[in-house]
């Protein structure tokens, strides 16, 4: 990737925008969207299909794990692909912390991350050392530490090349059963989340048009604001947890960064899945439709940025960057950061407010 003149102009525009931060009040702007319609569109065509996919992929994983532990070699061979499918399905929803995923501790049970102090490795190691029989029951495992039941915990077991889960010794048998318990626990959690979206009192209904007296939402604008916040947060997470550590690693090659799912080699695909999901959320929300005419360049810029990320992002984040291996890597990673941050700022500062969505917390009724 290269920084061309158009990009430089865009960068200048974003910087100017960020500094001036002109409020949009008082300008001619298109009408704000119908929030119940926006909410229904986002939930039905974006959110639910992705949680359904997480339930499906984790279900397949649990099924193949069970057969693998029973000695089926074909199933054993499929487990790592199932795991990859589940991890990528999770990457598409991990930043959606509303509805059933707003429950405290639930996202951590899917994946205890970030884990800067290495709790997952330590606690999974302790379970293995004890061969804790209780952990083999997924319902019991679900009540244990969040760090021993999610995808990163399962990665510890599946990608320990020195001690594979398929073998004739007692240790391997325990490891396989524990991995199965984890897969079943993840699948049960995904199905639980889907169930909570459903029904008269389910989150789908509550978030499309909140009923009077709803404990979480007072107006249909509030769930729409949560979707916009999730979009901004999703981009911020990719920047903070993945791209920034990679950029830092270029300068300090002796200190490999902690990156999600690096043991399974899924980091780059995980990032790409997250980016694709933020792109889909942006498009499904239709924020561009509420953009005032004098800001028409913003949705155009965002669309081009998402396309650029989809095209060039995966190669930029593939493998652990080493400056000596590829002198262009740092520049390529900075390009990813540039586009991710640009989209995030423009959505947060311009498009969401133009659509009548409240993003801020401290900026509102201040103190």
């Amino acid at each position: 990737m290269t920084i061309n003149r158009a990009m430089m102009r865009s960068l200048a525009a974003i910087c100017l925008l960020a500094v001036v931060a002109v409020p949009l009040a008082g300008r001619a702007a298109p009408a704000t969207p119908s929030f119940p319609k926006l909410n229904a569109r986002v939930i039905d065509s974006y959110v639910l299909p992705r949680f359904k996919r997480l339930a499906d992929t984790s279900g397949q994983l649990a099924e193949d794990m069970a057969r693998a532990c029973d000695g089926n070699k074909k199933a054993a061979a499929a487990v790592k692909q199932d795991f990859a499918d589940t991890v990528l399905a999770w990457a598409a929803v991990e930043f959606l912390r509303f509805g059933p995923m707003s429950q405290i501790g639930r996202p951590e049970r899917f994946d205890f991350s970030p884990d800067p102090r290495g709790v997952t490795q330590r606690q999974v190691g302790a379970l293995l050392a004890k061969r804790d029989a209780a952990a083999l029951d997924p319902a019991t495992l679900a009540k244990k530490s969040a760090a021993v039941q999610g995808l990163s915990a399962l990665e510890v077991l599946l990608y320990d090349e020195a001690r594979p889960i398929i073998g004739d010794d007692e240790d391997a048998r325990y490891r396989c059963k524990l991995a199965l318990s984890m897969a079943q626990s993840i699948n049960a959690l995904a199905r639980e989340v889907l169930t909570e979206w459903d029904g008269e009192a389910g989150w789908r209904r509550r978030m499309i048009e909140p009923p009077a007296g709803d404990a979480r939402y007072k107006t249909p604008e509030e769930p729409a604001g949560d979707f916009a916040r999730a979009l901004i947060t999703g981009l911020q997470m990719i920047q903070d947890r993945e791209v920034a550590p990679m950029i830092a690693a270029v300068a300090t090659p002796d200190k490999p960064p902690r990156l999600p799912f690096s043991h399974s080699g899924l980091t780059a695909r995980y990032i790409a899945s997250g980016l694709a999901s933020t792109k889909a959320l942006y498009e499904t929300m239709g924020l561009a439709r509420s953009t005032p005419s004098d800001k028409a360049w913003i949705p155009r810029w965002i669309t081009a940025a998402f396309e650029r990320l989809a095209r060039d992002g995966p190669a930029a984040v593939e493998g652990l960057p080493r400056a000596k291996d590829n002198p262009n890597r740092a520049r390529d990673l900075r390009m990813v950061r540039f586009h991710v941050e640009g989209i995030r700022k423009l959505v947060g500062r311009e498009l969401a407010p133009a659509a009548g969505l409240t993003i801020g917390f401290n900026e509102l009724d201040g103190d």
């Binding site: 970030p114 999703g234 903070d240 947890r241 900026e363």
Partner: protein, 381 residues
């Protein structure tokens, strides 16, 4: 000073919430391991926040993205007072809340929830005495509508042991000066009142408000000196404070007048020095949306940071030269605290924790998805 009794309603709320807070703390430990917790180190941070499910809590965090402790709160919290020697922290309800939760940073003791008397509420801020034995909290007298400092016994279950005036209306942040004795209080000047049908946040006196910075002897309650805003600036509410290495008290303001007339928002004063609003080479008040949400001093006492959440900016002022030397852009950023050796950590309403230096060096940032950090952030020393 006078003593007081906690009425039954407050007592019951306090009792139940104390248990709730304690059990939640244990529950968090259980989320990680049976009984084991992650240690809290110097440089970790503490802030009040709104959680993804819409409830509120106070959290101890790391700059690499981990939540080390979390205690639920019955309502929205605001600032946290820290006694570094004992490891005690107190998070205050946002005004006009009346609860505060005292907890041990390392979770060595049960949390204690306490409340103001029924006819008082907190303003969200407080500070420990130097020896850690007393806690001073800014409060509102709902009968006289005067500002007060409530005094609580940090060694005795946070029983209220007295109060003293702030010599103004609407006190907000209170800090203890380096002499260990003098309290500086930002009297915001805005009158509010709690009664049925009102939020207690309605501003009742904008035309006549009179903000001030008051210096008070913490041992006697005596007013040492007080500085009022000058002519034309009586709508410039003084809200947040920090003391620099040379002893000057820096303050951040919020403008209650017309947008077109927005003045500069950051200034300094001393016991014998009147309020002085600094004038940057290019006007900044309007660009900061007339609103400073927090101020903090760098560890070396030379740079003051002032956050402007409505503008998504944090500006840095060299206290010796009284000039703006840099800024950070962070959407809905408000909480800010000094970070050794010469930087700042900051938090945002979109769940970001970030560390920057005033020279535009970005150190790191971490996301806490679904969380919104409240206005203030404190570093654990």
């Amino acid at each position: 000073m006078s003593s007081m009794a906690i009425d039954r309603r407050h007592f019951l709320i306090g009792t139940s919430l104390t248990f709730a807070a304690a059990s939640a703390s244990r529950a968090f430990a259980g989320m990680l391991d049976d009984g084991a917790q992650l240690g809290v180190d110097a440089g970790d941070l503490v802030a009040a926040c709104r959680r993804p499910d819409g409830s509120y809590s106070v959290v101890v965090l790391t700059l690499d993205g981990a939540v080390l402790r979390e205690l639920p709160l019955e309502g929205r919290g605001h600032d946290i007072a820290l006694d570094r020697a004992s490891g005690q922290a107190v998070v205050f309800a946002r005004r006009p809340g009346s609860f505060a939760l005292a907890f041990d940073i390392q979770d060595r003791r049960e949390p204690v929830l306490f409340t103001t008397p029924a006819n008082r509420h907190f303003y969200g801020h407080g500070v420990f005495s130097r020896d850690g034995r007393l806690l001073y909290a800014t409060e509102h007298d709902n009968e006289t509508r005067a500002g007060l400092i409530g005094i609580y016994d940090a060694t005795g279950g946070y029983k209220r042991v007295g109060e003293m005036p702030t010599y103004g209306i609407g006190p907000h942040e209170v800090i203890l000066l380096a002499d260990g004795k003098t309290l500086a209080v930002a009297n915001g000047g805005i009158e509010t009142h709690v009664e049925s049908g009102m939020s207690g946040r309605e501003k009742l006196n904008l035309d006549s408000m009179q903000p001030s910075l008051a210096f008070i002897d913490s041992t006697t309650g005596r007013l040492i000196s007080q500085h009022m805003q000058g002519a034309g600036l009586h709508k410039l509410s003084i809200r947040h404070l920090a003391q620099d290495a040379r002893g000057a008290v820096w303050f951040g303001c919020q403008w209650e007048g017309a947008d077109a007339e927005t003045p500069e928002l950051v200034g300094c004063a001393g016991l014998d020095q009147p309020l002085r609003i600094i004038e940057p080479s290019k006007p900044m008040g309007a660009a900061l949306a007339g609103y400073i949400g927090a101020v903090a001093m760098s560890p070396d006492g030379r740079i003051v940071a002032a956050s402007a959440p409505r503008a998504g900016r944090i500006v840095y002022v060299d206290t010796e030269r009284a000039v703006v030397v840099g800024e950070t852009q962070l959407m809905d950023s408000c909480g800010v605290t000094g970070l050794a050796p010469s930087g700042f950590a900051m938090s945002s309403g979109t769940g970001v924790l970030q560390a920057d230096q005033p020279d535009h060096t970005h150190l790191r940032s971490a996301s806490f998805p679904g969380r919104s950090f409240d206005n203030h952030l404190r570093i654990i020393g």
